[in-house]
Symmetry: C2
Subunit: 281 residues, 2 copies
C-alpha cells in the first residue's frame, strides 16, 4: 500500500464524531477513513480522567493497527485528557478538537467574553480555560457543563418541548454575561445548534471546531505529501465496540451517507476482535 | 471465616442498586455487603445484550472472589439478560429483580392491565412480558421504554420544570389505557416516584421490587442456615470500576449511610485490580 493511500483514523466515544466526519467528507473527499466509536463504554463525559485516558489509548491502538496515516480524535472529552499522551506516544500525527476549537473561538470573539459549553469531564479538565488564559489573559471565560445534552441528543430528543427547557436550564446562567461567542465543545451539540442560538441570542456566535479540524488534517496531508489522489470513491469503514445495529440507526441521524461505500463492524473488545462484514447502504 | 459470616454481594451498573441496598439494610441489618457498581461502563440500558451479559459476568466473577454467599443483581438491565446464565454458572444462589418484580406486580393488579417502565434494553429483552404472558395469558401489558430517565436521575435533575415534562413525554401514552399497576423496572425510578404517580394518577399502584428482593434473600439465608447473627455493626464495602469520588457524591443522594462502617474502593478493570482504602463517613 502506498503511504498516501493509507486511511485517516477517526476516534470518538460514540456516534458524535460523525459530525466531524461530515466535514472530512467535504474537505478531504478522496481520503479513506476508518472510524471507531466506543459505544460499549460511552458516554465518556461523566467518567474519570484516568478511565478516559485508558479508553482513548485503547481506541488509538486499535486504529493504529488499521495502518492509519493520521489520527483525528473527534471527542472533546477524549481530546481534553488524552491528546498530549497520544501526541507523545503515537508514531503518526494526532489532531484533536481542542486546538482548532480554541483558535476559531479566539478569532471570532471581539469582546473577549466567551462561553465554553461541554460535558462535565471536558469542563472539569480546564483544557480550554488554561489555553485561553495562557494566550489571552484578559479574556473573561464562562465554562458551562451541560451533562444531559449528549444523552438527550443520543436519544433523538432534539425537538421536544422540554428540549428547549433543558437548554435553558443549563444556559440561562449566561444571560447578562455579555458574551459574544460560545464554543460548542462537544460533537453532539451542533445537533441542537438552533435551540442554543435561540437561548443565547443572535449576537452570540456559535463556534464548531469540526471544520477547522478537517482543514488542519488537509494542511498536514498536503505538506507531508500524504494526500490521497484516488479517483475511485473513498472507502469508509466503521467499527463500534458495541453491536452495530444501534450505531447504524444513529448514524442515519448524524451522518446520512449517500455516495460512499461503507462497512460496519463490531469490535468486541481490545483483546477479542470479532468483525462482521456488513455493507451499509 | 464461618460460612454464615460471608458477605452478600450486590451488583449494579452504577449507583442505582443502592435503592436495593437500602432495603437490605432494613430487612437484613446484620449482613455484611460487598457492592460493585460498574460506573466506568454505565449505563447498561442502551447497550447490546451480548455486551450486557459480558459486563454482568465480569462483575459477578469479581464479587465471587470476595467470597460472597449470595449474589443480588440489582440492575434490571443486567438481570434481564444475565440472570439465567448466572444462575446456571455460579456456585452460589443468585437473586435478580425480575422474579420479585413480576410477582409483586401480579399480586397488585386487579384489572390485569399493567405497565412496565424500564430502560430500552430491559423493555427490548421482553423478560417481563414473556413471564407475564406465560403465567397470565389474559393480562394486557403496556411496556414503556424511558431512556432518558436514568441519565436525568444520575444528574440529580429530579425536581426541574422539565423533569415533569420528560416524565409526561414517556408516560402520556399510558393515558386512557386503564392500567391499575405499573412496575418501576429500573433501580433509578423510585427517585422520581412522586412525579410518575402524578402523571399516571392516584389509581395506579407503583411497584418496586427492591423490598421483595431483600425478603427473598432473607428467606434463602434463613432456610439455608446462612444468616449472619453478628452483634457488631455490619461492614459495607463498595467498589466502583471508575473513580470513587463521583460514586461517593451520588451515594449521598441514593443511600445516605449513617450508622455503618463503609469502605470505598476503585476497581480499575477485571485484570487490574487497584484498591484504595478510604473510609467513607
Amino acid at each position: 500500500m502506498m503511504a498516501n493511500s493509507r486511511p485517516i483514523g477517526v476516534f470518538d466515544s460514540g456516534v458524535g464524531g460523525l459530525t466531524v466526519l461530515r466535514e472530512i467528507e467535504q474537505i478531504l473527499p478522496r481520503e479513506d477513513v476508518v472510524y471507531l466509536g466506543d459505544t460499549a463504554r460511552m458516554p465518556y463525559g461523566n467518567k474519570s480522567p484516568e478511565t478516559i485516558v485508558r479508553y482513548t489509548l485503547e481506541g488509538a491502538s486499535f486504529l493504529l493497527d488499521k495502518n492509519i496515516k493520521l489520527l483525528i480524535v473527534a471527542c472533546h472529552t477524549a481530546s481534553s485528557y488524552g491528546i498530549d499522551i497520544l501526541q507523545e506516544q503515537l508514531p503518526i500525527p494526532v489532531i484533536g478538537v481542542i486546538q482548532p476549537g480554541f483558535e476559531l473561538l479566539m478569532q471570532s470573539t471581539r469582546s473577549m467574553r466567551i462561553a465554553i459549553l461541554g460535558t462535565e469531564a471536558t469542563i472539569r479538565s480546564k483544557v480550554y480555560q488554561n489555553l485561553i488564559e495562557e494566550h489571552y489573559p484578559k479574556a473573561k471565560i464562562f465554562p458551562v457543563p451541560c451533562p444531559l445534552f449528549a444523552p438527550m441528543i443520543e436519544e433523538g430528543l432534539v425537538d421536544q418541548v422540554f428540549t428547549k427547557q433543558i437548554v435553558e436550564h443549563y444556559l440561562s446562567c449566561l444571560r447578562n454575561k455579555k458574551i459574544d461567542a460560545a464554543l460548542l465543545a462537544c460533537t453532539h451539540y451542533p445537533l441542537i445548534r438552533s435551540l442554543i442560538q435561540e437561548t443565547l441570542g443572535e449576537n452570540v456566535q456559535l463556534i464548531e471546531p469540526a471544520r477547522v479540524c478537517a482543514e488542519q488534517a488537509k494542511e498536514w496531508l498536503v505538506s507531508s505529501s500524504l494526500a490521497n489522489f484516488q479517483s475511485t470513491p473513498p472507502r469508509y469503514e466503521f467499527f463500534s465496540t458495541d453491536e452495530t445495529d444501534k450505531f447504524k440507526q444513529k448514524m442515519e441521524i448524524f451522518f446520512p451517507v449517500r455516495h460512499v461505500s461503507v462497512f460496519l463492524r463490531d469490535w468486541k473488545s481490545v483483546n477479542n476482535l470479532k468483525s462482521c462484514n456488513q455493507t451499509f447502504t
